[in-house]
Amino acid sequence: MEQNDTVGGRDSAWREQLRGAMPAKERTAIPRVEMPQLDGAYRVTCNEEVNQGLRPEMAVTEASRCLDCPNPTCVEGCPVGIDIPGFIKNIQRGNIAGAYAVLRRTSALPAVCGRVCPQERQCESRCIYNKMKKAPVAIGYLERFAADSAREAGVPAGEMPQSNGKKVAVVGSGPCALSFAGDMAARGFEVDVFEALHEIGGVLKYGIPEFRLPNSVVDAELDGLRAAGVRFHTDTVVGKTLSYERLLEMGFDGLFVASGAGLPRFMGIPGENLIGVMSSNEYLTRINLMGAGRPGSDTPVPAARRVAVVGGGNTAMDSVRTARRMGAEKAFIVYRRGEEEMPARVEEIHHAKEEGVEFMTLANPVEYVGDKTGRVTAMRVQRMELDEPDASGRRSPVPVDGAIDTIEVDLVIVSVGVSPNPLVPDSIEGLEVTSRGTLAVDENLRTSLPLVYAGGDIVRGGATVILAMGDGRKAAASMAESLLK
């Protein structure tokens, strides 16, 4: 994983040349690129990816905005520490393979991260342009451009490294698991990934919709991992199909648990078990993984006219935008705080609005009402107002006395977070669990069992793709060190 000439460090002659080629004043005068996107009215009629990606000339211009800072603070904002100026400057000089190689050094899934990372809160929030009161360099768009262009040009993702004779098993195949698998394979480990579902990719497949992250993009990243020697096994629940003891018997030297967050949370309010009230996990899984609503799929999904989605995160946005595409006339977000406080990526909120999604903020469901067959027909919503900031730093919502509205709905999607899935912790004896139900790990992500490491949502309880990937990298580094001692 060392740097090579084709990629180049900041001191390379070509980097210096690029820095000198244009005065900073001229660079900073260039406006931030705008992502070409499909029209809102058109995209609710289909599942096509909303963001169309930058064209090469747009990417080069945007890349030239980057000042190639001596101490790039953007890198500190990235949970996996991608060499951001390194890949951006390679884009600027037209070396896609070089840009891709820089990305691959720290990320197994650059095409995914370029699409789903909350850049505005990570790398882009630390860009020097913010200090100049200007829009930051579009790092996420450029990452996606580099990864997509490399894929389209057939740049190989990696090659099979020399085996070190050790074998590791990975539980789950979401972003955390894949990033671990990629790093371990690069270090010469034999890697077997065990996935409970019938498709590889975890939340990238069942959760994030096609219009935000096409499956073909995920599949291409998986092919890259296969080329590096990673083996994938579907329909296998570690702890159930294969016990921990059985894995040791099969010759695995280490186990990495990245089984995800699992259990959807509900609010415990009356009527929540009515037909037509379901978790966002169920709704998105039916549609994204099972293809409900598409020809040839046996999986049903409720046909709904008025859809309420409860929550303000990315999963809530994915659900409400999916509902519009599934034909809902009215699809709206119900969120107990204000729009400012929503945890969703800003871009998702914009996109949702462009697609005709309505936002009912400062509103909290208190009851669902059904007809005599048990189908939900209405929800009762308590109006809220914002009080002082709470522990999370967000202003906490409090009910407005007597302000309760009844709203007609025929589908409610509950998207208020997830709890850790007890499946793996319960079925491997000796795995220590925290009071929140997550796996207990030390600073190296090692669990109470010396051969078992864990990361992602099963440790964090619910986070982003990139934080999960950061865990995968960290666990790979510490497990590799311990196994190769």
Binding site: Y206, T236, T241, N273, I275, D298
Partner: protein
């Protein structure tokens, strides 16, 4: 892909399939279930495990044709394959020596998952009385196998075409009146389990039921299978499938199972 190596037609709508699944065969215990998928556009549906052969590496599934997916599975022949089979899922039955008779009540295809439980309770040294119930004699399945592991077998049919005429609860009441019952296990249609639970509650006998709700992933992720047990929301796939029958809200469960009836 899991190949079918044996098929038997139990009745017009019910088939027995012996399916290759070596790791599942090794790992499964009484009470577990699997999720299967048939065809590339196939739905994920839960099926109970009736038996397993570790040496050959197979599990036995009993499937009743009640909709699109089960119809596809019932139409599979020897040599065909299930596209996916994953398991064993859920928590295993709490088997052990009980202080008194264990009564196992099976309704319809519920007899299939009951069989390994009967066997295990018997092997744990219990006196086991089994009650099989169905609408008519044609729909009584696995009678010989159940008889082999039961100290006493009672067959009940709605029309009296086999065994005694009456419902499972009629047979059960007779056994309960005989005394010395430590535990009742009931597996069958929700309505049957509901009435078994109502009856055993009268007698104060601990009762376990196994729920077969709608599921998607079967690993706790979607919450489609949620049921109300003693006022708490529980997930059948990871918290069950067995629960204290006296605590289950069967009416709500039956309502929820009709969620997609209109789309069948």
């Amino acid at each position: 892909m899991n190949r079918i190596i044996q098929k038997e037609q139990f009745s017009e709508k019910v088939v027995k399939l012996v399916v290759e699944a070596p790791e599942v065969a090794k790992a499964r215990k009484p009470g577990h279930f699997v999720i299967v998928r048939c065809g590339s556009g196939g739905e994920r549906i839960p099926l109970t495990i009736a038996d397993a052969d570790v040496a050959v590496g197979t599990v036995t599934l009993v499937v009743q044709n009640v909709g699109v997916s089960t119809a596809k599975i019932c139409a599979l022949e020897v040599g065909d394959s299930l596209t996916d089979l994953v398991g064993p899922l859920g928590r295993a039955t709490d088997i052990g020596r009980r202080d008194g008779t264990v009564v196992c009540c099976g309704g319809g295809v519920g007899v299939a998952p009951l069989l390994p439980i009967i066997k295990a309770f018997k092997e744990a040294g219990n006196r086991v009385v089994s009650i099989l119930a169905a609408r008519n004699s044609q729909l009584i399945i696995l009678e010989d196998e159940v008889r082999r592991y039961s100290d006493e077998l009672i067959v009940m049919t709605d029309d009296g075409s086999a065994g005694a005429k009456g419902l499972v609860t009629d047979g059960l009441r007779r056994v309960l009146d005989g005394g010395d019952v430590a535990e009742v296990v009931a597996i069958g249609p929700a309505i049957m389990m509901k009435f078994v639970a109502l009856l055993t509650k009268e007698y104060g006998i601990p009762t376990v039921c196994s729920l077969n709700t709608i599921m998607v992933d079967g690993t706790g992720m979607c919450g489609a299978c949620r049921v109300n047990v003693g006022g708490r929301m529980r997930f059948v796939c990871v918290d069950g499938p067995e629960f204290d029958a006296h605590q289950v809200d069967f009416d709500e469960m039956m309502m929820r199972m009709k969620a997609y009836d209109a789309q069948k």
